[in-house]
Symmetry: C2
Subunit: 425 residues, 2 copies
């Protein structure tokens, strides 16, 4: 059935809400059975998904979409196996639901505890990458939440085929297929309807570019995750191990330049800039990174500067490049670095390279970001890397969850109070 | 200085934001010094506050405000001492800031931990009770947050006098008075401006009636607490200890009928209604409680029913009475009770009275509310009673915090990652 009207979207919401009450009480075994069914289907029943994806790909190519979008929407057998592997890891994670967070016996004999419960219904609006369909579903189901999915119109066939697998995995495990609701119509008016359904959606997770995240933040009537946008700095302190700095800065920029935890700006302390900056610049430019340098950095690099070293303009500071470009600035002190990060950072991931513990501690204390690093690459900011198993996204807000959001971050709690007739004086 | 324009409100926001960066790093000793200074001032320097409050009171009386509002806005020496006592307890609570929530050593040698940090700036919009000025300030300061306060226009003089004490307590401890920002102009347009300042306010806490909470939820551009509204049920199961049921139902309604955790509806299992309902009704009506009964309850109470037993109308279910009125309904089963609560409850506090463990467990599992009780009065839902020391309010939403919000619920965390040169493969 195709979702055509605002009423249809509301019906999806109501179905998800009803399903969520059942999912909240589903056993760990039943949840894992659904996930492992899906792992199996993703590995052994790929033909339909790959055929649908080929159609999406051809149409996107004919429409002249960017190489980077084409790459993101492409599914291959290998990619589907990778998605299955991730889902298997989610199945292996402990079930967060029912966990007792804290128990206290009060002097009056009441025993209070907080018990972890699902949020209820998680909505996700995402772009390009069809594997998000599986990822969000897997994390939501394991955490006892129903989900409402709205992917990009460029992957509508791929997502439809994947949702058919999700439903088969549910049915084969005897779990209601209402656990996943799929908005199979790319009409933008239906997204607007979804954003108004605070009665049916407890959390909205936008996955995509800055404009999508901003649109959702401004228009959603329910809580929404703000995140996925990272203007990330690495500050090379005067007490840095330069060899380590070169290696970390290179990794933070070059490993995958298109993700939100990739380095955007290198700040180099003036005292080591003469020695360090040429080494850093050489390593980056050798990998094709274009450097937008402030005047002091340019003059240090001097006449032998690589061709890729260019003058920075004001809007290079605070820019998320998502490509092989980095801004470079010389600073006079840790304080100047902290101030620059406060002014231009987006609160995602920030790093200091230093052997000086007191500088490291000031950086960790004073930088206000989801993830703060000493002597490591900011590319580690990721639910899998941080031991959460997987993530629905990376939050840069302070409310509810900050940084990578895994299973626990899709839960709430209830207070459970057990008495023997206590009344309040 | 009086706040007159939207620009003035923005200036308060900026000042709070700047102060919040300092407060985040304030020592526990400095924070407690401010709080204990204020405890002392509230006990020994009451004249100015009481005089200002007398003026507010006279004006409110002349304006013909309700007895209940007059009572809430009245300050007495005893009430100020009570507020001071509560503040002293906040000073004695452990400082949540800097707490390391979890530390993990990853296989690659990275050590990740989550460190508790303040939210930043907390805004509060509240009505009538001037002690909220002190309560919110105390909890915000102890949790390292700056606050922006906007009290009701009926208590503007009282709040102005109290804020003078807050500022003196800050100054005497050498802490910036920008830690508290006070909107000393009751103009509603300035509240609208406050609701738009998501750049400067991290969390908004409305304290007041349902219409205020709804207005804030719908118009705030930053996260806001939804709560403080409770349609609370107590279900007397067929396996209830009737003597206990009578005592708990009476306490849940009568102890303080005007607060959000007070009982609104009693549900009584049909099998024990003939024995139990008359006992419950007798005890409630003896305290002046008017009972709005469904037909079965009325017929059980029969011709000897107390005068205060009246027929219920449909809108009695789901109503928050906040007075000496209760709705009464006979149900055929635990399932019927659960369904009634799901339909009409507001997700605040719900109780079952039973000696049957399996009924108790189903109730605790299946009722979706901030606080679920077995054999105790719902009036216990309170930060102080739950061992949080104090509360800024009671949340009925699932995002971030649910139930009473104390110091920890005014915090976020940052991921801290310490490496020795790790790069991501």
């Amino acid at each position: 059935m195709t979702t055509k009207t605002v009423q249809d979207v509301t019906a999806l919401g109501l179905a998800a809400r009803n399903a969520s009450r059942k999912l909240a009480r589903l056993s760990t075994e039943d949840k894992n059975r659904v996930l492992l069914n899906l792992v199996e289907l993703l590995r052994s029943d790929q033909a339909g998904v790959l055929a649908a994806n080929a159609e999406d790909y051809q149409e996107a190519k004919a429409d002249g979409l960017d190489e980077s979008i084409l790459d993101r929407l492409l599914l291959t057998s290998e990619r589907l196996n990778g998605t299955a592997d991730e889902l298997q890891r989610v199945a292996e994670l402990p079930d967060p639901i029912g966990e007792v967070i804290e128990t206290t016996s009060l002097p009056n004999g009441l025993v209070t505890s907080r018990r972890r419960v699902p949020l209820g219904v998680v909505g996700s609006i995402y772009e390009s990458r069809p594997n998000v369909t599986v990822d969000i579903f897997g994390l939501c189901l394991k955490s006892g939440n129903a989900c409402i999915l709205r992917g990009g119109k460029e992957t509508i066939r791929s997502n439809t085929a994947l949702v058919a697998l999700l439903r088969k995995a549910l049915t084969d495990a005897g779990v209601t297929t209402d656990a996943v609701q799929f908005l199979d119509n790319p009409d933008r008016a239906l997204v607007d309807a979804m954003l108004k359904m605070n009665e049916y959606i407890d959390l909205l997770v936008p996955r995509g570019g800055a404009s999508l995240v901003k649109f959702v933040a401004e228009n959603a009537t329910m809580p929404a995750v703000t995140g996925g946008i990272g203007v990330c700095h690495t500050y090379v302190d005067r007490a840095a191990d330069l060899k380590m700095a070169v290696k970390i800065v290179h990794n933070a920029k070059v490993r995958r330049p298109s993700i939100c935890n990739a380095l955007d700006t290198v700040l180099v302390h003036a005292e080591i800039a003469a020695d360090g900056l040429p080494l850093i610049a050489k390593e980056l430019t050798a990998s094709g990174v274009e450097l937008h340098c402030d005047n002091r950095a340019l003059s240090i690099l001097g006449p032998d500067a690589p061709d890729l070293a260019l003058p920075a303009s004001e809007d290079d500071w605070g820019k998320e490049f998502l490509s092989l470009t980095a801004a470079v600035k010389v600073v006079d002190s840790l304080d100047d670095a902290l101030e620059h990060i406060e002014t231009y950072g987006s609160g995602h991931s920030e790093a200091i390279i230093t052997e000086d513990d007191s500088a490291a501690n000031r950086f960790l204390d004073e930088v206000d970001a989801a993830a703060v690093y000493v002597n490591a690459s900011t590319q580690f900011t990721d639910g899998g890397q941080f031991g959460l198993g997987a993530e629905v996204g990376i939050s840069t807000q302070k409310f509810h969850a900050r940084g990578p959001m895994g299973l626990k971050e899709l839960t709430s709690y209830k207070w459970v109070i057990v008495g023997q007739g206590q009344i309040r004086p």
